[in-house]
Symmetry: C2
Subunit: 133 residues, 2 copies
Amino acid sequence: MGRKSKQKEAILKVVKSTDTHPTADWVYEQVRRDIPNISLGTVYRNLKLLTRDGEILGLGGGDTAGRFDGNIRDHYHFRCERCNRVLDLDEPVDKTMNERLAQRLGVTVNRHSLEFYGLCQDCQSGITNDKAE
Amino acid sequence: MGRKSKQKEAILKVVKSTDTHPTADWVYEQVRRDIPNISLGTVYRNLKLLTRDGEILGLGGGDTAGRFDGNIRDHYHFRCERCNRVLDLDEPVDKTMNERLAQRLGVTVNRHSLEFYGLCQDCQSGITNDKAE
DNA sequence: TTAGGTGCAAAACCTTTGCCATCCC
DNA sequence: GGGATGGCAAAGGTTTTGCACCTAA
């Protein structure tokens, strides 16, 4: 599954230690504090490896999503359409849906992703908040 | 809401007439059959406009998703992790989830997106099928 | 020792944008 | 006429890759 490196460990630690669902570039900036000459390519490579190995999740499923999630517990998301913040939800995850669908369609279902879209509290009240990406 | 053009109409027609959830580039190739000198920029511009106007959907919600859906009925998706095919599902859409979440979190919820991931029939049987993107 | 990882920089993609010509209303 | 739209090409942003050099096992 690949050998250890301080770069990979630092990257994993950054992703695990935030709930901001960061982009590759944000991770890069954070890791740079500890390893100033790390390269962005290394960050991309390791995020992809960590995603494949199931140590982190690619948001929206897969490693092409552009944002990552260190929380690999099954959970859902709420995304603010204005500031693009992503919140983890505590809603219970219903895995029976997977089986029902698998039977009905004759496919294999590994997982599902449920995301809600709307305006977060800050953005509703207009306090806000540049449109971030 | 913007004026008419044959380019925009052709683009809409292409997206509406397929259930393959095409990328901008695929749409471009199709439209080119009718309008050989249409430019890719025009396709992007119009896909964005059509998405904003609600005439088509950006997959995964929004217009940054890279794939589009001419079916604007509320519906869910199944995505094959091997061949990346996307299937429309007939599952009933449960809008009460939106309200429950909105109340609990104090946010505004406009919609949600539910995607299942797994292997489609072809990819299970190994008949398949290059990894498309 | 050596497969695998790293840094760097270039390349590859994908999407947006500026500019001017053209078209609709 | 005048603002919207289109074609073209250049610019932007993000992600991947080739390569020579390291490093963990």
